[in-house]
Symmetry: C2
Amino acid sequence: MREMRVGPTGFHDVRETNLGVVLRAVRTHAPCSRAAVAAATGLNKTTVSSLVADLIARGLLRETGESDERRVGRPGVMLALDDLTIAAIGVEVNVDYLSVVAVDLLERDLVTRHVTFDARSAGPDASAARIATAVHEVVADPALRRRSVIGLSVAVPGLVDSPAGVVTRAPNLAWRGTPLRSLLKELMGADGPATMPILVDNDANLGAVAEYRGGHLARTGDLVYITGEVGIGAGVLMNGELLRGSAGFAGEIGHVRMVEDGPACGCGRRGCLEALAGIEAILRTALPDRFPAGDLARADLGDLVMTAVERATAEDAAAVDALHTAGAWLGRGAAMLVNLVNPAAVVLGGYFVPLAPWLLPSCRPALRELAFAPDAGGCVVETSVLGLTAAARGGAVAMVDAMESGRLPLPPPRDGGAFAADEGAS
Amino acid sequence: MREMRVGPTGFHDVRETNLGVVLRAVRTHAPCSRAAVAAATGLNKTTVSSLVADLIARGLLRETGESDERRVGRPGVMLALDDLTIAAIGVEVNVDYLSVVAVDLLERDLVTRHVTFDARSAGPDASAARIATAVHEVVADPALRRRSVIGLSVAVPGLVDSPAGVVTRAPNLAWRGTPLRSLLKELMGADGPATMPILVDNDANLGAVAEYRGGHLARTGDLVYITGEVGIGAGVLMNGELLRGSAGFAGEIGHVRMVEDGPACGCGRRGCLEALAGIEAILRTALPDRFPAGDLARADLGDLVMTAVERATAEDAAAVDALHTAGAWLGRGAAMLVNLVNPAAVVLGGYFVPLAPWLLPSCRPALRELAFAPDAGGCVVETSVLGLTAAARGGAVAMVDAMESGRLPLPPPRDGGAFAADEGAS
């Protein structure tokens, strides 16, 4: 049962909560009048006017030139989200790249960057330094001029203790117990971004957020996003909320044992789904000539995937067979998800997207065959339209959402002391 | 965003909601004064007094003789839940038994019954008739005299379309598309219980509710209950809420394929977890002499389980080996749960409980070995203390919870037209 307390402390919380309520009402209904916000929220008009004034001062709302033409009498001034004053940044560090995305309050891209980077060889410290540099570069980008950066998120392929900001274990990066948030706070201390809230989270979780907020299955509440990298992870959304589990380690579908005595996995076990259907596993079988010594130059993953696509297009037997087999394993993984959590959609992301024409024809039948519920409980398997920036975009969007729902502070009024992008980086 | 509407219709809803709020406040704090309820809920004292009067008239609260001795001045009258006026009934139908439980508002047992019954041989119609008879017998039990029955729930081992009250598929009962709620409504029409709300749900889901509300791991929010019958199902609670998935078919861990070309499963596939570690699979291997023709007399399951316990106790090799192997499969299933949803606890129920001394020594190491998260993400495997009545009790308790949270109507004032147990059955 929720207890209600009203008092000096409580009042501040109520006002912060109501600022978020008004912000979300304008997001849903814009352009809209103050009266429409009052009607939609149940707050009275005087309160709404005061909250709107506050949000305008903070650079989150603006008045538009448009008026409500349906209105009888004097035209009302309309409100919209102010898409010029804030930015949120998301970074994904994966086996072979860094991806960086900055979005505005409307969750539209301001900057997207894809940088080839071998995080495993670099190690945690150098990787953190590279992330910090990438963030500074984005903050200095002309698209972020005069914007306040409300927060930074970093997506990592592995177990993440998100409240602590620590990467518990990321076998494909060979990181273990890496205090990524602390490392980044130190690195970014000198010139401003140090004050920026930093979220560290699992890449699949943030990919799922990106799909939910802006993919082609947006607003599908029961959705699983599957990363397609060297590792395979699942971000599980139920009723639009991330399923994290008791220690925050849910969604590790890549390390479910699928067969006894299967191929070796990066985690030290055998027969895991990612050892059978992860991108490295696929490429080893699809392009046997490229792995004479069994070694993988990780920074070349993207090129190798394109080679696999070319060969499969040319009906090369090894490539087609490897993808067919991997697709069937992914279908079996999807069936496991349907049996256990019954999502409405499974979205394949990352490098699975260009390979999907050869994966899906075996994936979908395997799902239907192995799911216990008729018609796979209504679950469809689709590919992401968000490409390799899904997790980074999801992280940036998660910061906007955190601000609106009160888990991050709102930026102070514009003449206050917020970190402003055009001052911090130079 | 939640929209607030206030008006004649809305007012009724607000009052119903507040009646539930007060009821839950008293459940948490009883014995407590009206002032304490006002403090705990944020409702004002006049409103609380009116709501309490209403709840007393409906037989849900009572004033106790006790007074608040900490109170300065005139002693206040204390409130408690009225445990004398309502009852909720839960039935579980499984392969070899019917289990029936009635509870009072404090969720204490009024009646518990275990009836040997072969639902598969009986078929859906005769099974529904047997359920209706069992309900009538419980309603007529002296322990329910002068009580209003607020609702009935029926737990079934299989896919249940709970909103429709239809058993979509229960392979171990050989039911498919069985409109159980409609069948029961018709059967109970003649003498009163026809007006009783009827919930049909999956047995594992209701077992999980029972564990959460009253097992030895009560209030463990991220908990999975595993049924131990011929079939294996999982009831998954996350943050104390059942995870149902988009079509309500989540938790079917028994039908995840664990091995290629494994033993045949009741669902028509091969290698499912329940074909490897379900009770029938265990008994076939543990007691090979009892299955000369491969046939199982299902109504004897309980006796056969006791025979397996006796033989394992006497260190019979076949029994011990069968249980050791099944335990390892259950550990692998638990590891899959940890990897995908990361619960704090997995609770083994049903016939797994008496067999646990031989299952757990291989189950727990398999979980630790195969879970990706260190220390299995903090997950423990325990046995249920609720026995074969877990799902029935969970169903009865779910009706109490549904009433308190407004999903079931509150009983009308005591002189109104509620179905009263002592009138309906004779």
